[in-house]
Symmetry: C2
Subunit: 336 residues, 2 copies
């Protein structure tokens, strides 16, 4: 293969000009650039990218395993992580597990374990210095029994058995805030449309809500609670059930369920906010486009990401692989 010098000679330019062309610098005429490009293709010259990459390789790289990039929580968590790492001059690369590609992913432990294994293998082969696992929702992850050469931090979930450092949301404190807000509006007959009852978020929100009512000496009526799938349609169906029981407020476990309650109200010529006080959870973007905008709890997604990155940074700096710190961050009430 010809050398850089030979290539430059054939083009009738200096080696610096060839380097500049290869590296995309703009101070070269288009015709010179095309002449160099053509000569590179004719001679099969291979620019020395590895030298350029040595500089890059001296940086630490963190691999992010994203369970599902399309989950509405993922981009903001990733942004929180990357904002922290950019300030610390770490590189970040992402691996998307795409769990939604399997309709029954939550019950398919084999699929999830094999997804994590592939992600870990791929990221280790790319020489990452640490791995942050960004979950689709909070639950106990069972997939990190490997003994890995790099530290792992769990973002927006927990681990089972062998503990890993994690950051998630504080469902208890957040639900207490929301419940007390609803009570402060004078409501005492309040329905609760919960998420699926095998879900940690739903369980914690249900229990905390129940506790707050008891603390305020308000009768907790099991019949005003339903556990359903987290969708708009399920919210509408659930509304049909609980609204028959004369409630004045509905605490929904997410904003989609609340949107379903709105759908039911519109269909029955009732006005959300006026005929029924409806609250959501998540501060998903749709919550401010519903009419009227819905009162909800804002997930601290950026902060979950930032804190996860900080935990990783601490592990790398202390050279400890198995720190087991865990953090739960409260949500913020968005009253609309």
């Amino acid at each position: 293969m010809i050398t850089l010098k030979e290539l430059a000679d054939r083009c009738g330019v200096s080696t610096a000009t060839v380097s500049n062309a290869i590296n995309g610098k703009s101070n070269i005429s288009e015709s010179t650039k095309m002449r160099i490009l053509q000569m590179i293709e004719e001679t099969g010259y291979k620019p020395n990218f590895m030298a350029r990459n040595l500089r890059v390789n001296s940086k630490r790289t963190i691999g992010l395993i994203i369970e599902e990039l399309s989950a509405f929580t993922s981009p903001a968590i990733i942004e929180g992580i990357m904002r922290y790492f950019e300030a610390q001059k770490y590189e970040t690369i992402l691996y998307n597990m795409r769990v939604y590609s399997n309709l029954n992913w939550m019950d398919d432990e084999k699929f999830l374990q094999s997804g994590v294994n592939n992600a870990v293998d791929e990221l280790l082969s790319k020489q990452v210095n640490g791995i942050i696992h960004v979950a689709e929702h909070s639950r106990k992850l069972k997939y990190y029994n490997h003994i890995l050469p790099v530290p792992v931090v769990i973002s927006y979930a927990y681990t089972d058995e062998r503990k890993l450092p994690y950051v998630s949301i504080d469902d208890e404190t957040s639900t207490v805030k929301m419940a007390e807000y609803i009570l402060s509006k004078g409501h005492t007959k309040i329905a609760m449309i919960c998420g699926l009852n095998d879900n940690l978020h739903a369980q914690k929100r249900y229990n905390s809500f129940k506790r707050v009512l008891k603390e305020h000496n308000i009768h907790f009526d099991e019949d005003l609670c339903v556990f359903v799938n987290w969708t708009r349609d399920a919210g509408k169906e659930a509304a049909a059930k609980v609204l028959k029981k004369g409630v004045t407020a509905v605490f929904c476990h997410n904003d989609f369920l609340a949107a379903g309650v709105y759908d039911y109200l519109y269909e029955h010529n009732m006005q959300p906010g006026k005929d029924l006080f409806v609250t959501g959870f998540d501060d998903h973007i749709v919550s401010s486009y519903l009419h009227p905008g819905i009162t909800t709890m804002k997930l601290p997604l950026l902060e979950i990401g930032r804190k996860s990155a900080e935990l990783m940074d601490n592990l790398l700096k202390s050279d400890a692989k198995y720190g087991i710190e865990g953090f739960e961050i409260p949500c913020e009430l968005i009253a609309r």
Copy 2:
């Protein structure tokens, strides 16, 4: 350093058991696993991850450069790309440029060029076999003057000067569909709330809309058109201007602008859909949560991703680096 055999002997188990523990297999008791883990930490034994990774490295890896992961278009484009590559047994890794971290990113060419350079260097150092650049919105990209050892495909944008294969949306055909739909509802005095006028999408939608009116012999009134930022607030302000002119329909260049028109109507006790026919563009998730749901054009994001991946696949299979095929895919009318 001790060998696998020595480690296994010290733990009083077989080498197979140690391997299984390292690789996260589940058929080992928790106490054995902890004993092995403890011994690994005491002896400083380093599991041979490279051997495991050889298998992975034989796969082709495509690097995706994402301008902004938080852009609502990005996750679906990425999903389209990855769905294709999963079927073809390619690995995919993502690099997020985070352009929103710079408030004036669209005008800061240096920032963008340096972001692309970093992304390219990082992905090349990770030995990717090809790069797909996923843009935040369609425009002419100027950042790929490098001479790269791998092929590049542009997803949701075009390139300037030196042409690269690309896939974007067909704004013309899509606008024609929408304009004819509005006309079919009997409207002849139609306002247009456009995006920023230096934006390719906005220019194409404006021109195509104007052309359709002319073809239908309907007077095109420049005074009924405003070019504004793409936000909900801008849509509301624009509505205040154009609605004074007695229009019966408004064609908005995106769904946020349409949501702003809704805000204006609500504030003035008018009903969207009844007192004014409002259409959006994008089929952003909020468009179905507005009340009533808005008629819009669905961006073919999955298909843009799929087609971009297919172009890359073809380039890799043909060993051609500089194919210059381009595709523009029409949007789908979602009538609500």
